[in-house]
């Protein structure tokens, strides 16, 4: 196979890193199959590449479709989001990092908070006090027993906030990939 075409496929493969290996292999194989068929029809490598568009745009189209159609949160999806906005340009450089980082951080602290509540309570039961963990408003300090439900409540609020930020991230990407996809 022509070197320029090979390079093209390598770039696609690289841009699609966040996808599962089996999916990536399948995508590259399908594009390669079309390239070979076009070549067979006497179309030059340069024309083939012009037809397919830049590898970046093509990879972005695959990533955009994957992100906006799968639901929920997962590491693979997170890395697809990161890969997408690294390809998405300036708008993506400002809005998406903010919303996605807030989303992840809030969700993480939302999980952490009740865990600390449990640890403090557990420590209290075996007779160890942990004043560095807890809640303090003016002269009021929550005891280990009161802090436990409070920590769950705060955890839920934080996690929900994070989830909203995450949803906002997905929504923005969806809007961007639709906006860019001018089917002309």
């Amino acid at each position: 196979m022509e070197k320029t075409l090979d390079n093209y496929l390598e770039k696609i493969d690289k841009f699609l890193k966040p996808m599962a290996v089996s999916e990536r292999v399948d995508i590259v194989k399908e594009i390669q199959s079309e390239m070979l068929e076009l070549q067979q029809n006497g179309i030059s490598p340069a024309q083939i590449i012009e037809r397919l568009g830049s590898p970046k745009e093509l990879a972005k189209a695959y990533l955009g479709e994957t992100i906006s159609k799968s639901s929920g949160f997962g590491w693979r999806k997170l890395s697809a989001v990161i890969a997408f906005y690294s390809l998405a340009g300036f708008g993506g450089m400002i809005v998406l990092p903010f919303t996605s980082i807030c989303g992840i951080t809030f969700m993480f602290t939302g999980v952490l908070c009740p865990i600390m509540g449990i640890i403090k309570f557990g420590a209290h039961l075996v007779g160890i006090e942990m004043p560095q963990v807890g809640i303090e408003i003016n002269s009021y300090t929550a005891s280990a027993a009161t802090f436990l439900p409070i920590s769950f409540l705060i955890g839920i609020v934080l996690f929900a906030t994070g989830w909203l930020f995450w949803k906002l991230t997905i929504f923005t990407i969806k809007a961007m990939s639709i906006g860019k996809k001018k089917l002309v």
Binding site: S33, L36, G53, L58, Y62, E65
Partner: protein, 110 residues
């Protein structure tokens, strides 16, 4: 007057319908599908639209895919075929399509 924006919106909304109709006729591979669509300028779409769309239809189980060897030196091709779920979806789409056409005809006073 710019009609292109409106045309591209129509295409966005109906491309999926057209692709499923073509795949229902007979199992088809990606490039063949794109070439067929090229014959209909209102529905012509590039690789970066069709391939991701096919992937989504696959994920949603409206179509299935299989790699098949082709003759004389040509590379294997990934063929897409419609599933039962796809047929069901397609008939629901067809009903809505007829509904739309009737509505528009009525409004046009025909």
């Amino acid at each position: 007057m710019n009609i292109d924006d409106w045309k591209s919106q129509i295409k966005r909304g109906t491309l999926e319908f057209c692709i499923l109709l073509l795949i229902r006729k007979q199992p088809t591979y990606g490039y063949e599908l794109i070439s067929t669509l090229e014959n209909y300028p209102i529905m012509a779409a590039k690789e970066n639209t069709i391939y991701p769309l096919l992937r989504r239809l696959l994920k949603e189980d409206f179509i299935s895919s299989s790699w098949q060897e082709s003759s004389e030196g040509l590379p294997p091709r990934k063929y897409y075929a419609i599933t039962d779920k796809g047929l069901e979806y397609l008939s629901a789409m067809s009903a809505e399509w007829d509904n739309l056409i009737n509505t528009i005809n009525e409004m046009k006073g025909e």
